[in-house]
């Protein structure tokens, strides 16, 4: 058992923590941050598991996937933030109306 698995487990925990925050918190900024925490968790799993075998160099493919993922997540966050501001502007609240949320 190496440190690699520690990081991977940390990634999984971040994913679940983010999911929890996404469900529990109503404030949109927290929801957006929660999604970002979740994606960080996924990236950590991807990268950590790529160096399981200590004798060879880490697999670069997951690294490339993570870079792609980061750019996607930055783009999505930018859109989400401006949308949040717009929602605030239109409704005066930083929350989604409760309708439909189970």
């Amino acid at each position: 058992m190496s440190y690699v698995y520690l990081y991977a487990l940390l990634g999984v925990s971040l994913f679940v923590l983010g999911l929890n925050a996404l469900i529990v918190h109503a404030h949109l900024l927290r929801k957006i941050l929660a999604v970002n925490v979740m994606s960080t968790g996924v990236f950590l799993v991807l990268v950590a598991l790529s160096s399981r075998n200590e004798e060879v160099l880490p697999d670069p493919v997951p690294h490339a996937m993570v870079i792609t993922g980061i750019v996607v997540s930055v783009s999505a966050t930018a859109l989400a933030l401006i949308l949040m501001l717009k929602v605030n502007r239109a409704t005066g609240k930083n929350e989604l109306p409760d309708r439909g949320r189970d």
Binding site: F15, L19, L22, L28, K31, I32, V35, M38, S39, V42, V45, L46, L49, S50, R52, V61, P62, M65, T68, G69, V72, S75, A76, L79, A80, L83, M84, K86, V87, A90, T91, L96, P97, R99, G100, R101, D102
Partner: protein, 482 residues
């Protein structure tokens, strides 16, 4: 001529073309309308070219960069992808024609590039054979869809766009974690290679769970449908049409691909669960649709209901059942796009879509009314229509595999659909004083709705062609076909 056509890699052109069109629209907003229409037409032509190639040579694999899987990314086209491409191209053309008259110049500048990028994302998604590449296309699709929903003004549209964005991101992350597990277990991202290597293990089960959850969230299967009605009803009409007709089907397509190729899950209790959720969606969506007082919301709930049918094929798992589900997908895409367009026409001319007060508006829109009724026939599943053929295939499959109870759902769903369609039509035909409101409608907006609705009905008469497309490359395996 044949030589040239045969050599062109249509599979790549189908992806680059809409992206280039989108960039061109972004650079030159002044001519974006003509660029958009031209691109949509060209996409239809390219799909035709690809279809011709597939018919001649069978399923196609294209290695981008010449590397080939697992090192590079492969594109793969078979009957299943071709069918989805045909749907996207035809509905896309209809939506493009409709949008020409719909948007104000200011909104149009934003609409056209986004719409063409969405079109490119759809084509890329249907052609990809790489699970991480599918993630990127999903995100491209999701972000464009959210931006398009937010084009409608108003608090309701913005909040539904926000919720849609969060759900879309959540679904993508579940999917991506599943991809991570699959890659780290089997060392490849290519679907075909994974199909060879995958064997039952905790990692595969976790991946099945994560990927399915993520994609079901995006497909809005009951009970994860809560975000769909508001998003689809509040969006601008062309966007409602393309969300209901195409975007939700994209995540369904990925799920179907994975189930058919990677996860050997047919016949398990998980498949039964999907079937049950599908059945619940058919009934719940139908009941909710019946309770709506606004036309666009009614149509959106009808989408929830119709999506349920697609999942009835999972517990059956025969080639006949898959064909039925795909036929449902095909005819629903046409009919639902037509229905939303008809509702949009009513909304534009009358300024509201309250069902109880429709008659005064619709009397001035005979073509739109015809389109709505024809689309309704397919949604209800009355013969002759695409919806009828789809239900017939599913019914046959359910009886053949001894699970007749799914057939009852089909019939109940049809009755509910009939109830909500007639609820609208009933209000339309009550005699009311026609109000004298000013305003005219571009004829393209009425005709595009009518043509799509006609296609949905004609699908009930010309069945051999779509069924032959599905056979190319036998995506459902050679197993027990009906």
């Amino acid at each position: 001529m044949e030589l040239i056509l045969g050599d062109v890699p249509w599979i790549v052109v189908l992806i680059i073309l809409p992206l280039t069109g989108g960039m061109a629209c972004f650079l030159f907003p002044a001519i974006s309308k003509s660029l958009g229409l031209l691109t949509s037409l060209a996409v239809v032509a390219c799909v035709w070219g690809l279809g011709w190639q597939l018919e001649e040579e069978g399923a196609q694999r294209y290695a981008i960069g010449g590397w080939g899987a697992p090192l590079g990314i492969d594109l793969y086209a078979d009957g299943l992808s071709l069918l989805m491409l045909v749907v996207a191209a035809l509905v896309g053309l209809g939506i493009s024609v409709y949008s020409c008259g719909y948007f104000s110049p200011d909104k149009a500048n934003h609409f056209w590039p986004l719409w063409l990028f969405l079109c490119g994302a759809l084509n890329a998604l249907f052609l990809s054979s790489d699970i991480f590449n599918l993630y990127v296309t999903l995100e491209l699709l999701g972000l464009t869809a959210v931006a398009l929903v937010a084009l409608a003004d108003g608090a309701e549209a913005l909040t539904s766009a926000m919720r849609y964005l969060l759900i879309s991101l959540l679904g993508s992350l579940f999917y991506l974690l599943g991809v991570a597990f699959l890659y780290h277990s089997f060392g490849s991202l290519d679907i075909a290679i994974l199909a060879q290597r995958a064997e039952p293990s905790p990692a595969v089960w976790a991946a099945v769970g994560l990927i399915s959850t993520g994609l079901l969230l995006k497909t809005a299967l009951f009970p994860m449908h809560f975000w769909l009605p508001a998003a689809h009803a509040c969006a601008p009409t062309p966007v409602s049409a393309l969300l209901s007709a195409l975007v939700v089907k994209a995540s369904f397509y990925i799920l179907l691909r994975m189930w058919l190729e990677i996860f050997p899950m047919v016949g398990t209790s998980f498949a039964q669960l999907l079937g049950l959720l599908g059945a619940a969606a058919v009934l719940w969506g139908g009941i909710q649709a019946l309770r709506q007082t606004r036309l666009k919301l009614l149509i959106a709930y009808s989408t929830v209901s119709q999506l349920g049918y697609l999942f009835l094929a999972f517990p059956l798992g025969t080639s006949l059942a898959w064909k039925g589900a795909l036929y449902m997908l095909l005819s629903h895409a046409m009919a639902k796009a037509a229905m939303f367009m008809a509702a949009g026409n009513i909304l534009v001319l009358g300024g509201h879509d309250r069902i109880a007060e429709l008659s005064s508006i619709t009397q001035r829109l005979p073509l739109t009314l015809t389109a709505f009724t024809l689309a309704g026939i397919s949604i209800m599943g009355l013969p002759p229509s695409g919806g009828f053929i789809a239900k017939w295939l599913l019914l046959q499959a359910s009886i053949e595999s001894g699970q007749w109870w799914w057939g009852i759902i089909l019939i109940l769903g049809g009755l509910l659909a009939a109830a909500y369609v007639f609820k609208v039509i009933g209000h339309v035909f009550t005699q009311d004083e026609p109000t004298r409101q000013a305003g005219t409608l571009p004829t393209t907006m009425e005709w595009s709705a009518l043509v799509l609705a006609l296609v949905a009905v004609l699908l009930g008469l010309f069945t051999s062609w779509p069924l032959a497309i599905m056979e190319i490359g036998s995506p459902f395996g050679t197993g027990h076909s009906g």
